[in-house]
Symmetry: C3
Subunit: 335 residues, 3 copies
């Protein structure tokens, strides 16, 4: 089987921890010898990006590879994923051709494809990413799909590990207000990686905003394996008590999929991250994957304060990207 | 005169065959020594692309050059080609400046510019590409214009040569259904290169869908020179009998330029490529330049079957791109 | 303090002249040894570009660095610059995060951001560029802002210096017609650099089209320091008499900010640059930053004639870009 890096669940705890440790080592000693020289890597985007594009592009370049950045469906043809369809509509190219072709030009193919936000049943199968995995003949990297954002999760764990031994520490994933119903990829992956790292996981969210069942099952299994606690609550600000890590993120409701989020002021005030809430933590650090809407998700006072590690967290996308690329593509392979 | 690679007709049979042979050699032994190091190459797109952009970009990078990908008129200013015009409208920059300027920054400039599809008289002069050729001071590469797609043609012939000695073999270009009236560049270049290679050429198309007269004259001349046969017919599926290569492609009518294609089911059934039709060939391979609309141009059964060589054909864009770039830009020059 | 290259006024005459001299030397002997190898540089565009993107990109690549080209707000999230705002609107990411994050991935960040054209008071503070300077932890390069285009100015002076010793020579900045009210960045920087170089500066513009007061104060101070003359006039074509350099450019009125330009034929005829006007100069060269609207700004006869140096001027963007990049990023630093 081709090695891919698309979902945390495909990798053992040891493999994920080794990737993070490799990234920490790469941060200290960036490789100078262009280990991926002569390779080209395709980074395909169906949604906007800043950290993901630039971290992958600069990681690739610094390792000697050529990054090809493609805005799929806008710069290129609109792509089809359905099998057996008569293509007499808007889509001009099937991924059955596009992905094998990219696999001939490039040594890896990566895709960012958000869910449509109209049907979770349709979104959760991740049709574009699944087609990439099915048809690629080179490693596939997930740059965020409906169900997960594994590259972000590695950077998240790296950022925690730089500050504490995560085992037994307290990790709070706290839902936050937003103007849009956002994908569940980042919170799912953040909860999963925290549990993999042996942290006690608390998920604070309004009722009706639970993470997908399969994610929760994996989080519960990891917690059980490491002897850590798992709690799901809507009791904020109490949930902040004694936390070592506060990870804020907004996401949409699966029960009421794609519906607008509640926008009344009291609800937003209840869920925004403030200095007052952070004061209840055990010197907790504040994390967010970025981009973050200031004073909606979190107040300036927190983001601009000493507890915020969001820029380091973003920087770590670079180092973990290098680890992933080297792991998949360099001759000395970790896994 | 500056060497360019814009039209098959500018090159001798020997030159074209040498380019294909060089590409075959490059596929076996990709150069590792960055022969184009320090060069930058401008790839300008006025239309979508996947294979063309990525094959050129990865070919350039693998040879050590820096590819500059420009979406002309969207990322940049809208460009003018008319001489003497008072530029008080939408176009902000004349190619009289843009192309010489790019020639100062880059060691080659390449352009994809489709026909407008409203007037063949206007389109056939290829105003944008002609302005590139007129004003460039470095080699110009045609990445598909109204009249031809020479880079595709090289990959087409390479794909055939990898499987058979083309001389005396039977090549069928078969028109196929589509929802749009498409450019004639690919079928014209495919017919031309097959004839150049000494193949017997059959063009199966509905009445009213003939290729341009100058293309047909060149195809006829090449066939005559090599002693090959040339036939134009609307007799499908009979035209498939005994073919060694089936090249499917849709294109618009010159007589009824830009008009919608017939869309009735019987007509589409008549012209779609099926397994039943392929069975009449002499173990013929199935070719298409991609992107291909599945089950409109060709049925899944053919495209997913053993006769289909479309992904290899697309891969060969990479190797022929390297041959073209080396030919134009490397010190050891073929021609 | 971090070194930046964002405004001419931040640099001494000696520093600017040294950059131009370095560019002239780099043109003669392009560096082959990849002095910026391993670096990545972010070039952010909020407006179209041709010369700026391609010259920076090819300069970076030729020095061994990887250029990251970002169309900020279209490929990426829409960015916010206001402090303290509740981000519940269109902007999804604050430059307070975006710029520090880019600073972690890249060794320099560059920005093109035009003025909005609705309020000079708002535009002249250059909110996006100012946020870049405030939040970057690596050098910032201005690729054109409301108040200036320093990279263009270096290329302008280099182009003059290749043809004459500028000291004591006559420089005419002449306003020209256009269909839009354009930014004042280029004419401001052109006047400033000509004055810095010791040229006598004449600015010919319709009444009501004066450059900003602070620009004029700096131009006057430079002229005074070098003993050169400064004149502002609407007397065309007389202003062309005896000029060694004619620099044409259209710009909008500060007094009537963002308003459409006069479009009547007599006015346009009065201000367009013609061969007849050029004949009054002292063998003057014709300069323009490009893109130039032919037969609106300047007649074909001038642009296509021997006095025009616009393509050389554009080429010099490449060499001056290399000088700026080396100055900011290479170990052997000029300043």
């Amino acid at each position: 089987m081709k090695p891919h890096f698309t979902h945390l669940k495909d990798h053992t705890r040891a493999q994920l921890m080794a990737l993070v440790d490799k990234a920490i080592a790469l941060k200290k000693n960036p490789p100078k010898d262009r280990p991926l020289a002569g390779q080209s890597l395709a980074f395909c985007f169906m949604n906007p990006s800043l950290r993901t594009q630039v971290s992958m592009e600069t990681a690739a370049a610094s390792l000697g590879a050529h990054p090809v950045v493609l805005f799929l469906g806008s710069d290129t043809w609109q792509v089809e994923f359905e099998d057996g369809v008569v293509m007499d509509g808007k889509t001009a190219e099937h991924l059955k051709e596009a992905v094998p072709v990219l696999s001939r030009y490039c040594q890896a193919v990566a895709l960012r494809s958000f869910p449509s936000g109209t049907s979770w049943d349709e979104d959760k199968v991740e049709p574009y990413l699944s087609a990439f995995k099915k048809h690629a003949t080179v490693p596939v990297i997930n740059l965020e799909s409906a169900s997960g954002h594994p590259c972000q999760a590695l950077a998240d764990l790296m950022t925690i590990k730089e500050r504490m031994d995560p085992k037994g520490k307290n990790f709070l994933l706290t839902w936050a207000p937003h103007i849009k119903s956002l994908p569940l990829a980042v919170p799912s992956s953040a909860a999963e990686i925290a549990a993999v790292a042996g942290m006690n996981v608390t998920i604070a969210r309004p009722k009706g905003f639970d993470l997908p069942d399969d994610v929760m099952a994996r989080v519960a299994a990891s917690c059980k394996e490491s002897g850590a606690k798992l709690a799901v609550t809507d009791a904020v600000p109490d949930a902040f008590d004694g936390q070592h890590v506060v990870y804020a993120k907004s996401w949409g409701s699966l029960q009421n999929y794609g519906a607008p989020l509640p926008a009344d002021a009291a609800f937003r005030t209840r869920w925004i991250v403030t200095q007052e809430k952070m004061a209840r933590t055990d010197k907790g650090i504040f994390m967010h994957c970025l981009p973050v809407r200031r004073n909606l998700i979190v107040r300036d006072e927190v983001l601009d304060g000493p507890a915020s590690v969001v820029v380091d967290q973003a920087e770590n996308r670079l180092h973990t990207a290098k680890a992933v690329l080297l792991n998949l593509l360099a001759e000395e392979n970790l896994s």
